[in-house]
């Protein structure tokens, strides 16, 4: 039985009263539409705006000359390094070159089609794989690009069995249902933004820096996000453009990206090519692990998908070597997408582990158990908590793995081949500061305020759970207000960090309230206030990892990560080359689980997301056009309900007080990791076909 808190924001969402960015009152706002480049490179030599300016309803067409001066800013918080419209150089197809402002959205969109651009020096876009691999630099490189210990070459030479293979993953787009939307309104030098963002803090800081005003002059509202998955983490060009347009015209401006623009102006997970070499003794102990990677990146920003990262802490090996490179290409800027780095990376590592198990004639679960490290294999530091073995054993038990006949193609049902496959999962644990304000009124009612956005994961229920647990009051007595930059700051709802940071901050605020009252958890709060002679009590709580800023998983002398195991059953129709996942069992160790109901939903969503990576999702970059081919959800297909069989999710006991004050870690991205490898491994079990390129498509499976 799964128990937990239902989300307090549920009724508002179901009845349509929850307000999203584009719902903000816009009676006096101008509608903005972006004009974007139609070529991938070269120079913009002329822009003809007269036809657009003459179109009905059009108030103004803004080009570079019309923009106020903008300050310099790095990535992140910017998603793409150059502030929009500022350069003649074309960096990618779909880059903004003008903004049309009109009385209605339809008028603006129509007029945007009337702006004509001229370009020079346009050349075919070099595809990924045909440019040079270079070392990436800058703020979009997460973690080290090169890591090593021991002698991998010697380890491979000494191995009884070794495997080396190259794996690829596809360009993928986040595709949240709610597109990016921003309403900007200036009042003197005060800016108010309603924007669909995964961090009101980043938006506030970025806009203040760009427009040269103090952060307190920028107020950002975003209580709800209709899905982000990473594409609303950083500040993408439309946000400053909406603010600039509002500044220039003196009217509020609302800018909603079209679905097609969501494919070029809000990031994507770039295609990767990875090579893994594993060496092992005949009893399955690793002697060497090498994982190298390259990803498609943009001309600017050097976004790096650090796919080998997880390979540095997963398995005990005397020699480990990783490196990650990028290719600078004329394509839109990539950005983290659920689940960055380990998502594509564990496809390669966990496929290679399956290949090694097959070569060794060893059960793939057993191979992983034999390589369980005592301490972080790269740094030698202790794990804050690591329950991978428990996840593997429990997953195998729940799935019925012992019934598996290891022979290829041995399981059949009618015209379908059945395969069972598994993989381990892991995510790094970045952590970041958060804060919350808590108020108790004379009736004992509690209000918590925080800058956090509810992005669909159930954070308000988590806040209720932590406040109620700490104060010893019913969760229904706690109301949560969120998504306003005037509330205490929360770094952002990305990187699976919110529960750790915000939960710990809420707990600190609640503890401080009890201390001020001299009360114990469970004391009736109304009575405690009356006793203290108070009608209202306010307290603030803050939490941050060691050092005070954002950290990655290896900090403070510990190796902090989350773990899991995923077991799947696939059905392959070999005559038609069709693949479906009929069953999945995921068992996770993600710290203390504060709200089992929401946690389970996260993992079901994650596994489904991983199925999409494995079988469906691929944005095709067309080199002749220099752009992504299908910029809509008919061409870019994601899983539907009818694709997904039974999913069994559970958690092993875990409580990590190193990771956070409340023992929690982040689980938002963990569920999507390992699924694609488990599916590919199951396909191999079903068919004997080793598919190393995602997504797995019909032609991979046909005779």
């Amino acid at each position: 039985m799964t128990t937990g808190l239902t989300r307090p924001d549920g009724p508002a969402k179901l009845t349509g009263t929850a307000h999203y960015a584009a719902d903000a009152d816009t009676s006096d706002a101008l509608a903005a539409a972006l004009v974007t480049t139609t070529v991938p490179n070269g120079r913009l030599t002329a822009l003809h705006t007269a036809d657009a300016e003459a179109a009905p309803g059009v108030v103004r067409v803004l080009t570079r000359a019309d923009l106020p001066p903008l300050g310099e800013l790095s990535t992140p918080p910017l998603g793409f390094p150059v502030p929009p419209l500022l350069e003649d150089t074309v960096h990618h197809e779909g880059e903004p070159i003008a903004v049309v402002l009109a009385e209605t959205w339809e008028q603006a969109r129509h007029a945007a089609t009337l702006v004509r651009a001229e370009y020079a020096d346009v050349t075919p876009a070099v595809p990924f794989g045909q440019a040079e691999d270079v070392v990436p630099h800058g703020g979009l490189v997460f973690g080290e690009t090169d890591e090593s210990k021991g002698d991998v070459t010697a380890g491979l030479a000494a191995a009884d069995v070794s495997v080396t293979a190259t794996y690829t993953t596809a360009d993928r787009h986040h595709s949240p249902i709610e597109p990016h939307a921003t309403l900007a309104r200036w009042d003197g030098d005060q800016l108010v933004l309603h924007s669909s963002v995964q961090s009101v803090l980043f938006a506030q800081a970025a806009l203040a820096a760009l427009f040269g005003v103090p952060p307190e002059n920028v107020r950002v509202f975003c209580p709800f996000v209709g899905g982000g998955f990473g594409c609303k983490g950083f500040v993408w060009p439309h946000i400053p453009l909406a603010a600039a347009a509002a500044r220039v015209t003196g009217r509020p401006v609302k800018l909603v990206l079209t679905r097609a623009q969501m494919f070029t102006l809000a990031g994507h997970q770039p295609a990767t090519r990875q090579t893994v070499s594993l060496g092992a003794t005949s009893d399955g102990r690793l002697t060497a692990l090498r994982h190298t990677s390259s990803n498609a990146s943009a001309q600017l920003g050097d976004y790096c998908e650090n796919t080998p990262h997880g390979s540095t802490w997963m398995y005990a090996s005397p020699a480990i070597e990783t490196s990650t490179r990028i290719q600078r290409l004329h394509r839109p800027g990539p950005t983290p997408m659920r689940s960055p780095h380990e998502g594509p990376g564990m496809f390669a590592l966990e496929s290679a582990m399956d290949e090694l198990a097959h070569e060794l004639g060893m059960d793939p679960v057993e191979l992983r158990l034999r390589n369980e490290p005592e301490v972080d294999p790269l740094t030698g530091e202790p794990f804050s908590s690591r329950k991978l073995v428990e996840c593997l054993r429990e997953g195998a038990r729940r799935f019925g793995w012992s019934e598996r006949n290891p022979e290829i193609g041995s399981m059949r049902d009618g015209h379908e081949l059945i395969g069972w496959g598994m993989a381990a999962a892991t995510m790094d644990s970045p952590r970041s500061p958060s804060s919350a304000r808590l108020r108790i009124d004379h009736t004992g009612h509690v209000v918590v305020e925080t800058g956090m956005q509810e992005i669909g994961t159930g954070l308000p229920a988590m806040v209720q759970a932590v406040a109620a647990e700490t104060l010893g009051c019913p969760p229904e007595d706690v109301a949560v207000r969120h998504g306003d930059s005037d509330f205490p700051p929360h770094t952002g709802t990305f990187g699976s960090m919110s529960t750790m940071g915000l939960g710990s901050a809420v707990r600190a605020a609640a503890e401080s309230a009890l201390e001020k009252l001299g009360a114990e958890p469970g004391d009736p709060l109304a009575g405690a206030l009356a006793e203290a002679g108070l009608t209202e009590l306010e307290s603030e709580g803050r939490w941050s990892p060691e050092g005070g800023g954002m950290t990655r998983g290896r900090t403070g002398g510990y190796s902090i990560h989350t773990y899991g195991s995923i077991f799947v059953e696939v059905r392959v129709d070999p005559d038609l080359g069709l693949l479906r996942m009929s069953r999945a069992v995921g068992v996770y160790a993600g710290g203390r689980i504060l709200n089992p109901l929401a946690a389970r939903s996260q993992m079901i969503g994650g596994i489904t997301w991983g199925y999409g990576q494995a079988v469906l999702e691929q944005s095709v970059f067309e080199p002749n056009l220099g752009r992504f081919l299908s910029k809509n959800l008919a061409g870019y297909i994601v899983p539907v309900n009818a694709d997904i069989g039974e999913i069994d999710v559970s958690f092993v006991d875990d409580d990590d007080r190193v990771a956070s004050a409340i023992g929690a870690k982040g689980i938002g991205e963990l569920g999507a990791v390992g699924v694609s490898a488990a599916i590919a491994n199951a396909v191999f079990h079903a068919t004997g076909r080793r598919v190393r390129d995602l997504p797995i498509r019909i032609h991979h499976l046909l005779p």
Partner: protein, 295 residues
């Protein structure tokens, strides 16, 4: 509103007669039924017709009835009703209808719209071909019936004249097993890579077929139909003779005229059609012999 760039008239006739008069007067007016094809085209700016002719107020088009032993399905009856109300009498069509889009699309989308679009990938077409349906067209000049296998002229082109509307389709109720199968990368919301419909007509010992998404138009596999009709032991219900399903599959694949496109290659389409044809035949014949000879 002052949005008008090029204005689009919205015509809303209340009766069929009025609709036909309007269509005669405005042949450029584009009919609007469920809008699940048309609104997508408008949204993507693929066309900007000067006028839309809304058919949704016309109750005559929104009903089905029995006429001369046929089921006559009004052009604007949505898929959802075909599934719930006609599932047992037109099982092949209902099976195809169940694979269309999502519940929302099945609530809005219609057979009239499927025929109006005349896409080679329209899932309604193969079962209409296999079921020997006829399309009823009307204009102020009168009405006419066109066998569905003469309805399609090319990709997205049909015999409908500028002043005509699709009024209904007439399909004989099933007298034997019917099947529909579709290949796509996911289990819902999918444009067919290819599709196949089969209907056995034991009352006269004939076979109907329909191929979708594997040619410039939906197609019948006539050689396959004739071959199979002659091979089946209609009365005795003996099992399929060795090699018949395979040969039937080959003949179906041979009737297709597929191309390579983003959804699949021509070679795959031919291959997959042969598989679907064999499978649907096996299922249908099992149904037929399992419950003895019908009709």
């Amino acid at each position: 509103m002052n949005t008008a760039v090029s204005t689009m008239e919205f015509l809303r006739p209340a009766t069929l007669a009025e609709a036909l008069e309007t269509k005669a007067a405005h042949p450029e007016a584009v009919p609007l039924a469920g809008g699940t094809d048309l609104m997508v085209e408008l949204n993507f700016d693929r066309r900007r017709p000067p006028a839309l002719l809304d058919l949704t107020r016309i109750t005559e088009l929104a009903e089905w009835s029995e006429v001369d032993g046929h089921i006559r399905i009004g052009a604007t009856v949505p898929y959802a009703r075909i599934i719930t109300e006609l599932g047992s009498r037109l099982p092949g069509l209902a099976m195809a209808a169940r694979t269309v889009g999502s519940p929302q699309i099945r609530n809005r989308g219609t057979l009239g719209g499927n025929l109006g679009s005349a896409s080679p990938a329209g899932d309604g077409h193969p079962p209409l071909l296999a079921g020997h349906a006829t399309v009823e067209l009307a204009s102020v000049r009168g009405s006419r019936r066109v066998p569905v296998d003469a309805f399609f002229l090319g990709p997205k082109r049909s015999v409908v004249e500028p002043d005509e509307l699709v009024v209904a389709v007439r399909v004989p109720p099933a007298t034997g097993p019917q099947q529909f199968a579709k290949v796509g990368p996911r289990n819902a919301m999918v444009i067919a890579v290819c599709a196949f419909a089969l209907a056995l007509h034991p009352e006269n010992g004939t076979v109907g077929t329909g191929i979708g998404s594997a040619g410039p138009t939906p197609l019948r596999a006539r050689d396959a139909e004739e071959f199979l009709a002659a091979e089946l032991d209609w009365a005795g219900g003996r099992p399929l003779p060795e090699g018949v399903a395979e040969r039937f599959g080959e003949l179906v694949a041979a009737a297709a005229r597929p191309i390579d496109d983003v959804r699949g290659t021509a070679a795959y389409r031919g291959h997959a059609l042969a598989v679907l044809a064999r499978r649907t035949l096996t299922w249908a014949w099992r149904d037929h012999t399992g419950r003895g000879s019908c009709g």
